[in-house]
Amino acid sequence: MNIGASSSILSLIIFLPLLFALVISFWPQRQTLRELALGFSLIQLAVSLLLLRDFDSTTAALQFTEQFTWIERFGISYFVGVDGISLMLVILTTVLMPIMILGSWKSISEQVKGFHVALFVLQSAMLGSFLAMDAILFYVFWELSLIPMYFIVGIWGGARRIYATVKFFIYTMAGSLLMLLAIIFMMRLTPEVTGGAISASLLDFYKLEIPFIAGDFFTPQTLLFFAFAVAFAIKVPLFPLHTWLPDAHVEAPTPGSVVLAGVMLKMGTYGFLRWVIPLFPDASSHYAWLFIALGLVGIIYGALVAMIQPDMKKLVAYSSVSHMGYVILGLFVMNVYGMGGSLYQMLNHGISTGGLFLLIGMIYERTHSREISKYGGLAAAMPIFTIFFIIVTMSSIAVPLTNGFVGEFLILMGAYQYSFTASIFAVTGVILGATYMLWMVKNIFFGPAGEIVKASEHDPEHRLHDMSKREIAVMLPIVILIFWMGLFPNTIMDYSKQSINHLLQNKQNYSLEVK
C-alpha cells in the first residue's frame, strides 16, 4: 500500500478538515455527531502519519511541495510544503484534535454541530499556516484561524467570554495587520530577485537582501523585522503583549484552551522560526538581546504571577507565558541547542499544557469551580485523576524522563551558550515553575478535604466520580506522548535536525531547496 506517496498529501491535510466541517454541518443526526467528528479526526491523524512516514528527514529541503498560481498578477500562489520545522507541528495539531474532541464529549452540550465545525475549520487554518510557503497564503490561514477560535471562546466560553474573545481577536489582529503591511512591502521588493515579477513566495522572500544599518531603527529591515516580530510576539505571547492570553484561557471552553495553548501559540513561535529569523537575519541578530530579555522577563514574570493566581486556568495560562518565554529565548540565542530545544519545547508545551487544560476541564465539569482555594484533599476522592494530574504537572515542570525536560534542558543550554547571565535568569524559571505548579497541586489534591470535597462527601448528588473510561482514553495518549518524548526524543528531533542545522549554518543567506 502506498497511499502516502501521493504528491498532494499536504493539500489533503489542509483541506480534509474543511471537507469534514462541511459534512458535519450537513449531518442529519445529532446523536452521532461526536462519533463522526472523532472518526474524522482520526482519519486526519492517519493521513498526517502517512506524511510522517514518507518524510525524508535526511534533508533540509522543502518536501511534498505543491505550487499553483493563485493570483497571478501579484505572484501569489498556492504554495505549500513541509520541512523539519513544520512537520512536527502538523503532527501535533492532528494528534491533539481527536483528544480535544473526545475531551469535549460532555462539556460541550449546546450547538454541538457548530462547535465541531469550528474546530475543524480551525484545524484546517492552523495546518494551513504551518504548511503555507507563500506569504499571502500564510497570512490568509493565519487570520482565518482567528475566526473559529473567536467563536469557540465566544459561544462556548465562560461568563466573561465576550470580553475575552474580543480582546483575543483585537490583540492578535492588531499585530497581524502590521505583518500584512510588511508582507505587501516585501512583495514590492521581490522583482529584484525574481527578475521583474512580483512574488509572494517565501522562497523568493528568502532571497531578498534587505538593507540593514545597525543602530538605525528606521531602516527597512529593522522595521520589517519588528512588524513581523510584533505580530508573532502577540501570538506567542511574549511579555508584555501577553495579557489577552489569561483572559482567553480562562473563558475558553476546555477544547478551546487546549487548542489555544496546544497549537495556536505555536503559530507565533513557528512564525519566528520560519519567517522572522531567516528573513531578517541582521535585524534578528542585532535585536536578539531584546527578545532574549523579553523572553527571560516572560519566564520569570509569568512564573511569579502564576504563583498568585486563584484560578487554575489562569495559573496555567500564566505558566504558558513562562513556558513560551523559554521558547523565544531558545529561538533567539540562535544556536543549535536553543533552536532544537525550542522546537521541541513547542511540542512539549502543546502536550503538557493541553493535558493540564483537559484535566482542569474534567474537574470543572464535576464541580463547576476552578478556584484553587475551594479544593483540597482531592487526591483521596479522585486518585486516578490525581495520578494523571501529577504526571502532567511533572511534564510541565520538566522533570527528567518527561518531554518537558528535554526541551527545557536544551534551551537552557543554548541560553548558557549565549550568555551566562541569561542562563542564570532562565534557570530561576526552573525553580519558580516547580513552585507554582506544586503549589497548585498541593492545594488541590493534598491537605485536608476542602470545601468542594467536603460537599461531595455529604451530598450523593455531587459525588466526585473518578475519571471515566472516556476521560482516561483522553489522557492516555497525552501521558504516553509525555513519556515517549521524554525517553526517546531522538525519534522526534531527528525530523527537524537537518532543518535547524541548515538554518543556523545559512542564517545570512538562507534559502530552501524544493525536493
Binding site: V140, I147, G154, I155, T165, L180, L181, I184, R188
Partner: protein
C-alpha cells in the same frame, strides 16, 4: 463643429436609453391603468429586466474605449466595470425595496422610475469626461435619489433625511460647478481628456486652475463622503429606507468614485504637493472619523453608515494613489475592485438589516440581533461573512480588496497611509465583531420579519457566496478589470 450622431453613439449610449425606457414602462402602465398601481412583482420584474438588458448592453458595447457625442462620454473599461457594479447593486437595492416594510407599494412604480433614472444618471456620470456632463449625470442621479429617500412609509426621518441630503447635496453641486467654471476659465476646456495633457503643468502655474480643481475635488469629496464633508452620510443613511441606503452605499458611491477617479486620473494632483498632502490628511481623517464614530453607535444602520465613511477613506487612499502613479491602471483597478467588494458586502449587510426590520419605524440595534444565529443560521453566517469581509479579514473578498488597495498605496510609497488604514482596521474590527457577538453569543430570539422574503434571501446568500468564492479566486477578476482599464 461638426455634430453628427452615428450608430456607434446610439449603441454605446443604449444602456442609458434602455434604462430610461424601462423606467417609463411601469409608470405608463399605471397612468394608462387609471392610476391604479399594478402588482409590485411585475414592476420589479420590469425593472430587473431593464437593468439586466442595460447591463448586457454595457458588457456588449462598453469597454471599447470609444468616445461618443463629440467627446462627451467615454465608454472604456472603467465605464463598463463601474457601470456594472452600479447596475447590479441598484438591482439588488430594488430587490430589497420590494421586500421592505417601509416601501410604499402604492407608489412602487414611481420609485422604480426614479431608481432606473438614477442608474441612468450614474451611467452618464461614470462615462462622462466633460465636467458639465459629469454635472448632468450627477444631478440626474442625485435628484432621483433625493426623492427616493423621501418616499417611505416612514414619515418623519425619511423626510428629514431627504431634505438634509437635498440641501447639502445642492451645496456640493454648487461648489463643484463653481470649480468647473474656474477650470473652464483658466484652461478654456472642461473636457478631462483634454485637461489630462495640460493639468499637471497648469496647476503649478495657474492659481485659478488650482482653485477650480480644489472646488471640484471637494464637490466630489462630498459625494463620496470624505470627512469633513461626510456629515450628511450617517444621517441620510439612517433616515432613508434601508434598501435605499443600500442603494446609496453601493451604486451611488461607486458611480461617484468612478467619476472622481477620472478627475484623479488626469494626474492633476501631481502638480501640487500641497493638494496631495491635504488629500492624504483627508483620507486619514475620513478613516479615523468613520471608524471611531462607528465604534460608539448602537444603531446598526448608523454603524454601517459610519463604516461606509471609513471605507470611503480606504478607497480614497487608492484614489490618491491613482492620482500619483504613472501607471494608474493598476491603482485604478484596485479602486474599482474595492468598490466592487464594498458594494457586494454592503448590499449583503444592508440586505440582512432590511430583512430583520419589522416595520418602517424599526431600527436594528446591535443588541437587537441577539439570538439571530439560532433562528436563522444561514443568514447569520452570511452576515458574519459580510462583516468579516468588511473588517478585511481573510479569506473573504474584503481582505483581497484591502490587499490590492494597500498594495497599490505601498507601491506608490504611501506607506504611512496604508499604515493608517491598517490601524483603522483594528478599530473597525471591534465594531464589526459586535454584531457577531450579538448574533452568536447572546441569548435572544431575533428573527427575520417574514420567512417568505425569498428574493432578499436569495440575494443575500448570493452575495455571501460571491464574497467567499470570488474572495478565493480574486486574481483572475482583478486581472480582467486591470486589462480592461489599461
Amino acid at each position: 463643429m461638426n455634430i453628427s450622431i452615428g450608430l456607434a453613439d446610439i449603441l454605446l449610449i443604449s444602456p442609458v436609453i434602455v434604462l430610461f425606457l424601462f423606467s417609463l414602462i411601469p409608470l405608463t402602465t399605471k397612468v394608462l391603468n387609471k392610476n391604479v398601481e399594478q402588482s409590485p412583482a411585475t414592476t420589479l420584474v420590469v425593472a430587473l429586466m431593464g437593468l439586466g438588458i442595460a447591463a448586457g448592453l454595457l458588457i456588449l458595447f462598453g469597454g471599447s474605449d470609444q468616445t461618443i457625442f463629440n467627446g462627451q462620454l467615454l465608454f472604456d473599461g472603467l465605464t463598463k466595470w463601474a457601470g456594472l457594479i452600479a447596475i447590479v447593486s441598484a438591482a439588488a437595492g430594488i430587490v430589497l425595496l420590494y421586500e421592505n416594510p417601509s416601501t410604499p407599494y402604492r407608489q412602487f412604480s414611481e420609485i422604480i422610475f426614479l431608481a432606473l433614472n438614477s442608474v441612468a444618471g450614474m451611467l452618464i456620470l461614470i462615462s462622462a469626461i466633460n465636467l458639465i456632463t459629469v454635472f448632468i449625470g450627477l444631478e440626474l442621479m442625485s435628484l432621483s435619489l433625493y426623492l427616493m429617500t423621501a418616499m417611505s412609509q416612514e414619515q418623519k426621518l425619511s423626510k428629514e433625511a431627504a431634505i438634509k441630503y437635498f440641501v447639502l447635496g445642492s451645496i456640493a453641486s454648487a461648489i463643484f460647478l463653481y470649480g468647473v467654471s474656474f477650470i473652464f476659465g483658466s484652461t478654456n476646456t472642461v473636457n478631462t481628456a483634454e485637461l489630462m495633457q495640460v493639468a499637471a503643468q497648469t496647476i503649478q502655474a495657474d492659481k485659478l486652475f488650482l482653485f477650480g480643481i480644489i472646488f471640484v475635488v471637494i464637490g466630489f469629496c462630498f459625494k463620496v463622503s470624505i470627512a469633513p464633508f461626510h456629515a450628511w452620510t450617517p444621517d441620510v443613511y439612517q433616515g432613508a429606507p434601508t434598501p435605499i441606503t443600500a442603494f446609496m452605499a453601493t451604486a451611488i458611491k461607486t458611480a461617484s468614485f468612478a467619476a472622481f477617479l477620472r478627475i484623479a486620473a488626469t494626474q492633476v494632483f501631481q502638480g501640487s504637493q500641497n493638494l496631495v498632502d491635504v488629500l492624504q490628511w483627508l483620507a486619514v481623517l475620513t478613516m479615523t472619523v468613520g471608524n471611531v464614530a462607528a465604534l460608539v453607535q448602537t444603531n446598526l444602520k448608523r454603524t454601517l453608515a459610519y463604516s461606509s465613511v471609513a471605507h470611503s477613506g480606504y478607497i480614497f487612499i487608492g484614489l490618491i494613489t491613482v492620482g500619483l502613479s504613472a501607471n494608474s491602471a493598476y491603482s485604478a483597478t484596485a479602486v474599482v475592485f474595492y468598490l466592487l467588494t464594498y458594494a457586494v458586502m454592503s448590499i449583503g449587510a444592508f440586505g440582512i438589516l432590511s430583512m430583520i426590520e419589522k416595520s418602517e419605524n424599526d431600527f436594528v440595534t446591535v443588541d437587537g440581533l441577539a439570538g439571530f444565529a439560532k433562528k436563522q443560521p444561514a443568514l447569520a453566517l452570511c452576515f458574519t461573512i459580510f462583516l468579516i469581509s468588511m473588517a478585511g479579514l481573510p479569506p473573504v473578498l474584503g481582505f483581497f480588496g484591502k490587499l490590492y488597495l494597500f498594495g497599490a498605496a505601498v507601491s506608490e510609497g504611501l506607506i504611512w497611509l496604508a499604515l493608517w488604514g491598517i490601524l483603522n482596521s483594528v478599530i473597525a474590527v471591534y465594531y464589526y465583531l459586535r454584531p457577531i457577538v450579538s448574533m452568536y453569543m447572546k441569548p435572544g430570539d431575533t428573527d427575520v420579519s417574514d420567512n417568505r422574503l425569498y428574493a432578499s434571501t436569495i440575494m443575500v446568500i448570493a452575495s455571501a457566496i460571491f464574497i467567499v468564492v470570488v474572495g478565493l479566486f480574486s486574481g483572475p477578476l482583478f486581472t480582467m478589470i486591470e486589462r480592461s482599464l489599461s
